[in-house]
């Protein structure tokens, strides 16, 4: 393709620049931002969306009944895939009460990575349920610092009750190479799913 004269810092509007995204979900403190930061070309940024929703009574402001505003923080990173394609990685809070936010996040996404800490498996139940319900392809990445045994991965699969087709893989969120491998596994999985669907006659 002929893109003559493009400077390194500045991209001329070609009209064909586009983006895509992958969602990173998991409980608080599991390492989502670490994972994003290990491959992102920018220091992970935080954007805060102010949400107004019907009060659930938990964090209701005294004297202002009926409505509550919540600030939801999302950490995200950026990877330039090629001259005209930028991939964003969005880390999202795993708590159920942020589901209204996820709707926007998952729309059009390639897929999701559910990052898991084996000591706090329950923290990611909501995320797994949500992606299953939405039909968004996802994989489970078990964040481990000291290596992981195969039987532990199978224990995680069983505890989360994810199907046999869903990849459950170990990772080290601090490692660029490891995170890169997790992303590659997800995209390969999504591509394979599509090819299988296309070649299987519908019943």
């Amino acid at each position: 393709m002929g893109f003559g004269g493009s400077d390194e810092g500045y991209r001329r509007p070609s009209g064909r620049v586009t983006s895509s995204k992958i969602v990173i979900a998991g409980g608080f403190g599991v390492g989502k931002t670490t994972l994003v930061g290990s491959v992102s070309e920018i220091t992970p940024l935080t954007t805060e969306a102010i949400m107004t929703s019907a009060s659930v009574g938990v964090d209701e402001t005294a004297g202002v009944p009926g409505k509550t505003t919540t600030t939801v923080a999302m950490d995200f990173g950026r990877i330039t895939i090629d001259q005209d394609l930028i991939l964003y990685l969005f880390g999202t809070p795993g708590q159920t009460r942020f589901w209204f936010m996820w709707d926007e996040l998952v729309k059009g996404a390639i897929g999701a990575i559910v990052l898991v800490d084996t000591r706090r498996l329950a923290d990611c139940f909501a995320a797994v349920d949500f992606f299953e319900h939405r039909g968004l392809p996802y994989l489970v990445a078990v964040n481990c610092f000291d290596g992981v045994q195969l039987h532990q991965l199978e224990d995680v699969r069983e505890a989360l009750a994810v199907g046999p087709q869903v990849p459950v893989i170990p990772c080290d969120a601090r490692s660029r190479e490891s995170t890169k491998q997790v992303l590659i596994t997800l995209v390969e999985y999504v591509l394979n799913m599509r090819r299988t669907r296309q070649t299987t006659p519908s019943r």
Partner: protein
């Protein structure tokens, strides 16, 4: 507390810069890319401090709506209203993301992403 005429971001009601409007003229995805147009590079036609900062930011390299919100330290919804206004005025171009649907476009995108990741 800050008593100056130029309050810090934290002390401004978020939607004050949009004059209270919370709905953008057009919906813009959080990962949509924004680039300042030639018209937007002309400071004399860009009104408002926030819009000038956004025009400066997206003149250097394309930025997603999420990046604009983060770098401007404003809520996503506020950035969306401002960018939609700027797009309507021809100050920025907005490039929508490619959604991964069940079509050839989705497959091509996935293959591009895969080879890009392998090159990292």
């Amino acid at each position: 507390m800050n008593d100056s005429d130029e309050p810090s971001n934290a002390l401004v009601r978020p939607y004050a810069v949009t004059r209270g409007r919370t709905r953008p003229r057009v919906e813009i995805a959080i990962e949509a890319l924004v680039e300042t147009t030639a018209r937007g590079r002309d400071a004399s036609v860009v009104g408002g401090r926030e819009q000038q900062l956004i025009a400066g930011l997206c003149a250097l390299r394309v930025q997603s709506l999420a990046e604009i919100a983060a770098r401007m330290q404003m809520p996503l919804g506020v950035a969306r209203v401002l960018v939609a206004d700027m797009a309507a005025d021809g100050l920025v171009a907005v490039y929508e993301p490619t959604a991964v649907g069940d079509d050839a476009v989705g497959t091509e995108l996935l293959e591009r992403v895969l080879s890009g990741l392998r090159r990292l």
